[in-house]
Every structure is written in C-alpha cells, then in structure tokens.
Amino acid sequence: MPGPRRRLLGLVAALLVLLALLVLSVMIGSTAIRPSVVWDALFHPSADIDQFAIRDYRLPRTVVGLVVGVALGLSGALIQALTRNPLADPGILGVHAGASFAVTVAVGVLGVRDIRGYMWFAFAGALIVTLMALALGSTRHGRSPVAMVLAGVCVGAVLGGAREALQLTNPDAFDAMRSWNAGSIVGRPLDLVWPILPFLVVALVLALAVSGPLNAMALGDELAAAQGVRLAHTRVLAIIALTLLAGGATAIAGPISFVGLMVPHVARWIAGPHQRWIFAYSVLLAPILLLASDILGRFVMHPREIPVGVVTAFVGAPVLIALVRRKKASGL
C-alpha cells in the first residue's frame, strides 16, 4: 500500500502533467501556428486570423476538455464508491441513454437544430432518467447497488430502442444525432459551458462533503452506521452530485464513454482504497485522459480530426483490460 508521501508526490506529478497538457492543447493543432502567435493571441490580442484560431477554438476546447474531464472523472469515482461496483460507469445508470433520447426528441420532434438548444434537453434527459433508474432500483430498505445498475441498463435499453425507432423514421434527426452520439469537445463555445458550470461546482462541493462518509461506507453499511454515518443522507447527496456531474458533462460534450469507468480504476490502483485520494486522483487523471485523447485525435488522421469520445474508448479499453487481467487490481 502506497504511503501518504508517495500518494502526495503522485498527485503533484499528475497536476504537472495536466498543466503541461493544457499548454500543449493550446499550442498545437491541425494547423501549424507559431508559438509567438499563440503568445500574442493570449496576451496581445489583435484581429490577426491565426489569433482567432487560438482564442476561438483551441482555448475553448481546452477549457471544455478540462471541465468535462473533471466532471466525468469525479462522477465515475462517485458511482463506483456508491455502488461498490468497480464496473459502474455513469453511463450504466442511463445518463447517456437519457441524454441521447432527449436530444433525439428535441431534434426529431421539436425541430431544435442548434447545440445551444438541445444541450438543455440533454441535461434534463440525463437527470430525469438517472433519477428514474435510481427510483426503480430502490427498495424500501435502501438502494441495492445491483438493482440500481440493472435498472439503469433497463431504462437505457428501452429508451435506446425508442430513440432508434425515432431516428430510423426521421432521416433529419438521424443525421443530426450521428455527430452528437460520437461525443466531442470541439465546437462548444465557452458561453455554452458557463450556464452548466454552477451545477458542476455545486456537485463538486457535494462530492467533497460525502467523500468521508463514503469512505466509511466502503467497509460496510453496518460499520459506517456505527461510526455515525447517516447512510440515506449520504447516498442521496452522492446521487445528486454524480447526476449533476455526469449530466452536465454529457450535455456539453455528448456521450463520452470510458473516462468515468476507467479513471477511478487507475486512481484506486495508485492511491489505494481511500475515497478522498481516489477523488483527488480522478479529478486530475480524467482531464489528462480526455485532453491527451483530444490532442491525439487532432493528428492521427490529419487533416480531419477524430471525436474525443472515439479516442478515449480506444485508449481506455486496453488499459481497462490490462487492469482486469492483473490480479486483485480492482477490488474495492
């Protein structure tokens, strides 16, 4: 088990890597722009056409990547702690299915065409469906993690079918959904992020507040209750936090798989079974994965770019499989 000193050093290293990626993400892209122009774009703005590329595209997508990454990582850590299931992913609770379905209805039935419009549908869809899955998976005894996951799978499948039916009978909706479904952080101007940000901040505070009780609950409900943890209270707060985080991230970027599943795994592998450390690592590692994937996606098929959701799956899956093949790597 890693000592606190090593854990702290690891955290600092992760922070440095994240900072480096943030800089890199602004510096390089599918067009070659000199570093001096990048510098001027940020600190001596003018109407130079290359400067717009930095300020209007690379800076926003970097910020979006950071925000979405933090939200996804933390929501993944929350759901895995809450369900004590190393396989849980916010997507498993029907977040993606709910958001997807709501966007399809918005595009296909209501004729909303702009991401500014259907972003809110995605957010609402994600929230409603997650809460539905949780209600469905609840017994009067409390929430059984397995039942919640099952409920999420069910709700997700039913909505997925309905969404497919809508799309196959409505070519326009089908077209619009093709790109949304891939999950991307490109083309989301910053004014799209600001309205979602307060929700994420609230969720972040909630997550920090419940990290201690969740830590106690990892050892078993009875033990936690004996330590004075209010179980129902903690669960509700954690669910609100993770729903806001995952819903907000999906509203901005579309369904991005794997980040929420894989990052907490790696975090647990590095930090051991301490929720606060896992949360801290997840918050740093998730945007690292997302930004690195995004930067990679700008170059592998130049001049086109690959949506970040596709890249994360390709980067993430091998890591996950390697982790599973390691003995006892992912026990909670």
Binding site: G29, S30, T31, A47, D48, I49, D50, F52, A53, R55, D56, Y57, R58, R61, R113, I115, L168, T169, N170, P171, D172, D175, A176, R178, S179, A182, S184, V186, G187, R188, R298, P303, R304, E305, P307
Partner: protein, 329 residues
C-alpha cells in the same frame, strides 16, 4: 404462491386467440382481385438492372429512394413514395410538395419499404435509386409486384433524369427543362468567360451530420455542375480518391481558405446562410478571410442536384452571385 399469475396468463392467451378469430372474420371475403386490365402497349428501357419491359404509358408509378423528387420535378405523379427528409421537402415548390404529400408513404427507403402496402397500391411501374446492396435484397419482391427500373447511387444526375423521364413517360417535361438548362449554361459561360478563366474558386459546406466545429470543402452536389458544365476552377479530389467533401475539417482550417480568390457557400431560398452552415459564417476566422472582407464570398442556393428543376434554380442563383462579384484588379 397463488395461482393468480398463471390464470392471468391463460386469460391473456384466450384473449389473443379470440382477437385473432375476430380479425380473421373481419377480413373475410372483401378483397376479390380486380380484373387485370387488358395488356397495354409496352416499351423497353435500360438501367442498372438491365433491360426492363415497362408499360408505354404507366398510370400508377411508385418511386423508391432518390427517384421521388426528380420524377415529381419532371411532372410525374407517383401514387406511392418512400419518405424524403423534411429538410429536402422544404426546398421544393409548393405544387411539387402537394404531389409528394398526396402519394401514399411506404416507409423509409431500402428494406424498410412496406412491401404489402406497395403491392396493395397495384402499381404498373416501380422506379428505384438506392444502394446496390439494399436493392439486391428487395429486387425479387419488387419485380413480383410490377416492372422495376433501378439505378445505383453512382449514376450521373443527367443520366438518371433521362432514364427516369423515359421510364416514367414524362419526356415532354424533360425536353423543355434540358433546353432551358443548356441555354443557361451557355449564357453564364458567355457573360463571365473571362472572369471564370482567371479566378480560383472554392466551395465550402456543412451538413446536419457534421461534427460541431467542423466544415468541409465540398466537391459534390451543385458545385459539380459549375465545375464540369461551366468550367469553373474548384478544387477537386485526385482521381480514385474519396471526394474532398467527406473530410470534415476543424474550424481552425477556415484560415486556409485565404488562398482562393472566391468562396462559394450554401444559402437558403431567402439568401441567408443555410442553417447547418451558419456556425461557419459566425466565426471570427470566416469574417477575417480576405474573400469575405472584399465581398468575394458568394452565397449560392442549391435546392437539389439530381434533376433539372432544382439545378436551374441553382444556375439562376449562381448567375446572380457572379454578377455581384466586384471586378478583379
């Protein structure tokens, strides 16, 4: 456990069987086949599925896939059609829209066509343009209903229009349209010959399916007519390579458009940037392009590119756009 669940199941089964019986009696005996009309005169037409014998004057035509709008454009009145996207229907004239809506809808294209409904329409001719693999699947069913004329997706639009008019017996409409088209092309060539000769153009587009934050240098659609029939200099994919338009480029690369003299981009009938293209026009990079600042970014209206009617509208729009071009220094 009580017996209630299984009793309920039994009741459900009984209900199913009962309703089956009711449906059966209700359907009984009212659908005697109408007598086949006496064999009318026939002609032979050749398309991608070989030579087909079709009625000389088909009365009940069904169109599948991309044949619907071109046939309606040439004055045809299909009795059954597969669905066309709302965004395309919005662009056609009101009378054509009425014709489309009057026809029976048979579902979306390909293997989602409701075959029994199609058979129920008793068509005497079926016209289809869709991917080869899909046609292969439904060919047998279609030909057992009525003579079927098929084109793959690779057929050139003029050939498709010609074939459709011949098979669907709407040649009068076509001849008239073709004459107008040729006159218009000649006029544009004559009026702007010098300008076209020494200007480099680029056509950009963006679709509903494009990723946010991306656009394409489009080399298919109406621009092919400007390129091939008029001879304007647009960038073109290397022979055998994928069309340039398939590559969606990040907005960063809008800056790269400054190397062209004139940019054409898609607008709607009212001359405003097409909805799916609007995000490009709104970028600062676009606004800073030399072609845009000097009024050499031309909005062009392209309501469709696989029959003469919409193509003529496109040429009118292109004509007007070229006329607005400031003389080149």
């Amino acid at each position: 456990m009580t017996m209630t669940p299984s009793r309920r199941r039994g009741a459900a089964l009984a209900a199913t069987l009962l309703s089956a019986a009711i449906v059966l009696t209700a359907c009984g005996g009212d659908s005697a086949d109408t007598e086949e009309a006496a064999p009318a005169e026939t002609r032979s037409v050749t398309a991608d599925n070989g030579t087909v014998t079709v009625p000389a004057a088909p009365q009940r035509v069904v169109t599948i896939g991309n044949t619907t709008l071109p046939l309606i454009d040439m004055g045809g009145k299909p009795v059954g059609v597969t669905e066309v996207g709302a965004s395309e229907i919005d662009l056609i004239p009101a009378d054509q829209k009425a014709t489309y809506e009057a026809a029976t809808s048979l579902g979306s294209s390909g293997d989602q066509v409701d075959m029994e409904k199609l058979a129920g329409l008793k068509p005497d001719l079926i016209l289809a343009q869709l991917p080869d693999s899909e046609f292969e699947q439904i060919e047998k069913q279609l030909t057992s209903i009525a003579p079927t004329v098929f084109w793959g997706l690779d057929v050139e639009w003029k050939a498709l229009a010609g074939g459709l008019s011949e098979a669907g017996n709407v040649t009068a409409g076509l001849t008239d349209q073709r004459a107008k088209f040729e006159a218009k092309i000649a006029k544009i060539k004559e009026t702007y010959g010098k300008l076209i000769g020494d200007t480099s153009f680029v056509n950009v587009d963006r679709w509903e399916s494009s990723d946010p934050g991306t656009f394409s240098v489009a080399d298919f659609g109406c621009v092919e007519i400007a390129q091939d029939d008029i001879g304007m200099d647009f960038p073109k994919a290397a022979a055998g390579a994928d069309p340039l338009g398939w590559t969606s480029l990040p907005f960063e690369q809008i800056a790269g458009l400054s190397k062209y003299d004139v940019i054409t981009y898609p607008v709607d009938a009212a001359g405003k940037p097409k909805k799916s293209f609007a995000p490009v026009v709104e970028t600062n990079t676009w606004k800073a392009l030399p072609a845009v600042t000097s009024g050499r970014a031309l909005g062009v209206f392209c309501p469709g590119n696989n029959s003469y009617g919409p193509v003529l509208q496109y040429l009118d729009s292109l004509d007007a756009a070229l006329a607005s071009l400031p003389a080149k220094e």
